[in-house]
């Protein structure tokens, strides 16, 4: 049981706990907080895998921007606890088994696949340098990268149009 394994299990435990808590909690703020916990845990895992840039971005963008937006909106709408209505019998009865089935399938297909089995263990010492990442981003993936900027622009416009009051 090497140190990395310990760290992994700790972080994984935190992540899963957060995810479960997201479901259990009835107040959106608490769900949001548990989601943030998950994200931070994942960032830790990324660091463990040696993807430090992604880890940082994960926290800065996800934790620092997106989730803040969520909390901001929750506060803005002053969302209370969710009431226990049940209009969708389907979701109630078919939901769990299906979700479990899909999870099982994904797990089985990823883990059980020869390809995944053949993969070497994620080596933390081989840090993918941010330099290599950026090089790739600006050479091979430059068009998608530019496109994302358009995407964001559009998103901004959409958000503004949606959010402004009619007057």
């Amino acid at each position: 049981m090497s140190a990395e394994l310990v760290i992994f299990f700790v972080l994984a435990g935190i992540a899963v706990f957060g995810a479960v808590n997201l479901i259990v909690q009835r107040h959106p703020i608490h769900s949001a907080l548990s989601l943030i916990v998950v994200m931070v845990a994942l960032a830790g895992l990324y660091l463990l895998m040696g993807a430090e840039f992604v880890a940082a971005v994960q926290i800065i963008v996800y934790g620092g921007a997106i989730m803040v937006l969520f909390i901001f909106v929750i506060m803005l709408l002053n969302a209370g606890e969710e009431e226990r209505t049940n209009f969708s019998k389907l979701a109630l009865y078919a939901g769990i088994p299906l979700a479990v089935a899909v999870t099982g399938l994904i797990a089985a297909s990823m883990v059980g696949s020869k390809a995944a089995a053949a993969l070497p263990a994620a080596a933390p010492d081989t840090l993918t340098s941010t330099r290599a990442l950026s090089t790739l981003l600006f050479t091979e993936f430059v068009y998608p990268f530019e496109l994302t900027s358009f995407l964001i622009l559009v998103a901004i416009l959409g958000a503004i149009v949606l959010a402004q009051r009619e007057n």
């Binding site: 979701a91 078919a94 399938l105 089985a108 297909s109 696949s113």
Partner: protein, 647 residues
């Protein structure tokens, strides 16, 4: 600009003219309309001439070019490929030249008609398709032209679409042609199946070395040729599919002249001549062609004897002349056939146009029994008509003398039953000269059988008479290519066509020249006989007697139409009304459609409930979909993962 390199221009010009007139002409005065049409046709005529000049300048090398792909599927390719060889030269000159003249004529003839622009639009369109037909370098493109001219003929025959008879005639022409085209298509399919291409050059190159199929043997080539010929009978009005042509006279006279005499109806002959290589390998097919042609020539001539409608007479004479052409092709004298085609184009166009001019003069009267004594009134028309008649009856030195003689000569010398063919052909020649001179006498001589107070006869304007004169000149001189042959020299025409069609010389024939001379003499004699008989019967003014017996039979065209109606059309209509309509359409098709509709509605009703608008149930549906997708994608991985390779 070298036209030969841009051969597509020749057909394109009429198409442009047609498009312009068809789209914009309705608001234009006649002047602009016909100037557009004329310039289109005239230009394409000039282009054709230029193309011919270049062709000759290049030492008459067959020019062939693939301009663009049209259909490419697997190893099948049908491109917009045009080709230009001696045969094309003849055809293209005839079509554009005569076509141009008839356009000019039409400006006068149609001057006071409704839908002037429509007429010229159709006419140009026809020119386009006809040129496509004769320039085509593969059967598919040729078939495009083939169908296109059929369409134009339909449109133009039914030009006066307010007249029931006209529309019926149009339908008849179209439907009868469909039957022929069916055969033609089958022929094409067979050819493709055999040679894996529909390119002329390729097919002929591959067919050349094949062994010629024996007489009475129905090999692939024979069947293909017969099928092609079925198409030809449809298009060029041979037995048994000739019935549409006489009715097609419902169309305006220029149309009859251009389409139903000079160009379109000769398409069949052209096709046979074009694929002569195949025919030479299928003697059976050739024999059938010869017999059908000969029969038609005689049969139609007999009907022509008694018709009273001036245009009907000419129509039947056209049919019989076409029969001559097929006879020529059938006995292997393809060049002779084409030769007759050309001369016939000249004099038959001339005859029709003059007939048109007569009708114009009579103010729309077509019944010869209501004419008579017009010679003094309309001199130019009379003389042109006379020229045409002499030409068709084959007096020396007019066109048909040479062409028809060449055919009869070839028929005489052809083996198995050549003599019989010759005899029938000769008889047909007699009949021809009889009914033609009958027409002349009834129309231009004798007492006036019309009411002068109502009808005031007048000569046609120049733009109608000038084409007449030109055509008259052509039908006088058109045959002189073969003049030297008569004087013991060689026949320039067949000489010219030899590279394509092979020399029409009959091998191993001693003193062919003298024989030919005698035969021409006999032909002259036949013509004179006809003339005399006609003179005896109609020179003195005659009343229209009531017809009975043979006359009645002939007058009613052997009741062929009635026969067809009883045998084919009637049952067809009965079946389509009582079976196809009442059972199949109402029962099966409508039932299916309504069933589908109601089924859809029912399904929609049931499915609609899922469209609850409840996001969570949607989520579950998405989940189901994802599950399936995963299961499908990862099945190979999953099977061991789930069942541990038990399966």
């Amino acid at each position: 600009m070298p036209i030969l390199e841009h051969l597509w221009i020749i057909p394109l010009l009429p198409l442009l003219g047609s498009a312009i007139n068809g789209l914009l002409g309705w608001k234009w005065p006649n002047k602009i309309v016909h100037s557009v049409a004329l310039s289109a046709t005239g230009l394409s005529f000039l282009c054709a001439v230029e193309a011919v000049r270049e062709f000759v300048a290049n030492g008459q090398q067959t020019f062939r070019r693939e301009f663009f792909d049209w259909i490419v599927a697997g190893n099948f390719r049908a491109g917009y490929d045009l080709q230009f060889d001696q045969l094309t030269v003849v055809m293209v000159l005839v079509v554009t030249g005569v076509g141009f003249l008839i356009h000019i004529y039409s400006t006068g003839y149609m001057a006071h008609e409704e839908g002037y622009y429509r007429f010229f639009c159709y006419l140009n369109l026809f020119m386009f398709f006809m040129l496509t037909l004769i320039l085509a370098a593969n059967y598919v493109l040729l078939f495009v032209g083939w169908e296109g001219v059929g369409l134009c003929s339909y449109l133009l025959v039914g030009f006066y679409f307010l007249k029931k008879s006209a529309t019926n005639a149009g339908n008849k022409a179209f439907i009868v042609n469909r039957i022929g085209d069916f055969g033609f298509m089958l022929g094409m399919f067979l050819l493709f199946r055999t040679f894996h291409t529909l390119d002329f050059t390729a097919i002929f190159a591959r067919a050349g070395p094949l062994p010629s199929e024996a007489m009475g043997q129905f090999g692939v080539l024979t069947v293909a040729c017969i099928l092609l010929f079925v198409g030809a009978t449809g298009k060029s009005a041979q037995i048994p599919l000739y019935v549409w042509l006489p009715d097609a006279m419902e169309g305006p006279t220029p149309v009859s002249a251009l389409i139903h005499a000079a160009t379109m109806v000769t398409a069949g002959v052209y096709v046979v001549a074009r694929s002569h290589v195949l025919y030479l390998h299928a003697p059976t097919a050739m024999y059938i062609v010869a017999i059908i042609g000969c029969a038609t020539a005689f049969f139609a001539a007999t009907i022509g004897l008694v018709q009273s409608d001036i245009k009907k007479v000419l129509a039947y004479s056209t049919v019989s002349q076409l029969g001559y052409m097929f006879l020529g092709c059938g006995v292997g004298a393809f060049s002779a056939g084409i030769f007759h085609l050309m001369t016939h184009a000249f004099f038959k166009a001339l005859l029709f146009l003059s007939a048109g001019s007569v009708i114009h003069a009579m103010g729309g009267e077509q019944d010869m029994w209501k004419m008579g004594g017009l010679a003094s009134k309309i001199k130019i028309t009379f003389w042109c008509m006379l020229f045409g008649t002499i030409a068709i009856t084959g007096f020396f030195p007019f066109a048909a003398f040479f062409s028809k003689d060449a055919i009869l000569f070839a028929a005489f010398n052809s083996e198995n039953g050549g003599k019989a063919l010759y005899a029938v052909g000769l008889l047909a020649a007699v009949l021809t000269s009889f009914y033609m001179f009958r027409l002349i006498w009834l129309t231009f001589f004798g007492a006036k059988r019309y009411d002068e107070h109502h009808v005031h006869v007048h000569e046609s304007p120049l733009n109608m008479t000038i084409p007449l004169m030109i055509l008259a000149f052509l039908s006088l001189t058109g045959g002189w290519f073969a003049l030297p042959a008569l004087l013991g020299g060689k026949d320039y025409f067949s000489e010219f066509l030899a590279p394509v069609l092979g020399s029409g010389e009959i091998a191993g024939l001693e003193n062919a020249h003298n024989l030919e001379l005698t035969l021409s003499g006999v032909a002259m004699l036949a013509a004179i006989i006809g003339l005399v008989v006609a003179w005896r019967m109609y020179a003195k003014d005659v009343k229209e007697g009531k017809s009975e017996g043979l006359h009645k039979l002939l007058y009613n065209k052997y009741y062929v139409d009635e026969l067809y109606h009883a045998v084919v059309v009637g049952p067809l209509i009965w079946i389509s009304r009582n079976v196809l309509w009442k059972v199949v359409d109402v029962g099966v098709i409508d039932g299916t459609v309504n069933g589908i509709a109601s089924g859809t509605t029912a399904a929609g009703d049931t499915v609609r409930r899922q469209q609850s608008g409840n996001t969570r149930s949607y989520a579950v549906w998405v989940l189901v979909g994802a599950l399936l997708v995963f299961a499908i994608i990862f099945w190979p991985i999953l099977r061991p993962a789930l069942f541990g390779g038990v399966w």
